[in-house]
Symmetry: C2
Subunit: 183 residues, 2 copies
């Protein structure tokens, strides 16, 4: 990874992903659109065509240790697999209490209390994932997580999001929207 | 801290800080200007008036533990003290090797190998400091650190920057500019 990759998710009438549904998990939802376009490091389409746009950067690791990273790299799959015709975009905003924690306190919730990496690793390589950081950009959400999986892994994906939502970490989530897509 | 504070440092002919000098420590320098203007969470002045503009966000802690934070909070001073008429803006870019490290590897260089927080703490409260994160914004530098101190603390400030530049962490710095200011 050299420079962070800036990614814009643009909801409107264009894009290779069809939007199958938008649901609010916590807090206000986002508007439903027909399609979602993903722009990487390029000018996003003009805003007047978009129902909404969310930006985030694929940046350096914030909690992942060397041993976790080795484990993940050995088992994870990349985006864009031909069979992965289902996707989810899950924007999340954590509350002020989370961001006021020191690094070791956040790491303790993430690792020991919530087993965040272990939970995600159970569903590798079936569910591919890319995290985008939005908070420092002044965006309405802190993180945008993009998931891709084959239709046969749909149940596994539901298990994954349910397991994460049951963690101690999720008690700090004050807004979460769940956007499902297919192509 | 609620949302991250976006700060723009704008070099030109306006601003409350007079630029006393700009020197390159590692890599290309920045152009010298007469003054520096600091805009917090507001539209920065039009770019055609500025010699250069650098942006960063005052965001959540990335390496600081709860105990370090308590120690720092007990001894540090805020910005804007009347006696603190000297300042420095030190933009830094770390290399790809740094950003490719996992979180625990970066933390080990920062804490155990470099004693970054201990070094900074030696000069509290004389030298006030605010860190701005720039990397995820697609900026030319990764960090912008702003320091304020009284003229009587000038030698202490030189000791501080010299001590940091001698650390293992600084071997990952590939560009550093040192801008000195007064008001």
């Amino acid at each position: 990874m050299s420079r962070p990759l800036m990614v814009t998710f643009s909801a409107g009438s264009h894009g290779s992903w069809r939007v199958d549904g938008v649901t609010s998990v916590i807090g206000p939802s986002l508007a439903l659109s027909a399609r979602l376009q993903i722009c990487e490091d390029e000018s996003p389409p003009a805003t007047d065509e978009a129902v909404w746009q969310l930006r985030g950067t694929v940046s350096n690791l914030r909690y992942t240790s060397l041993s976790d990273r080795s484990m993940l790299q050995a088992s994870q799959a990349g985006l864009g697999r031909r069979a992965a015709t289902r996707a989810a975009l899950i924007p999340i905003k954590k509350n002020e209490a989370w961001w006021n924690l020191a690094q070791d306190e956040r790491a303790a919730v993430f690792h020991e209390a919530s087993r965040h990496i272990e939970i995600g690793a159970r569903y590798l390589p079936a569910v591919a994932r890319r995290l985008h950081h939005s908070r420092d950009l002044g965006e309405p959400f802190d993180f945008l997580t993009w998931f891709e999986y084959a239709p046969e892994a749909a149940n596994e994906f539901e298990e994954l999001v349910a397991a994460l939502r049951a963690t101690a970490e999720w008690q700090y989530v004050e807004r979460e929207v769940d956007i499902r897509l297919s192509r």
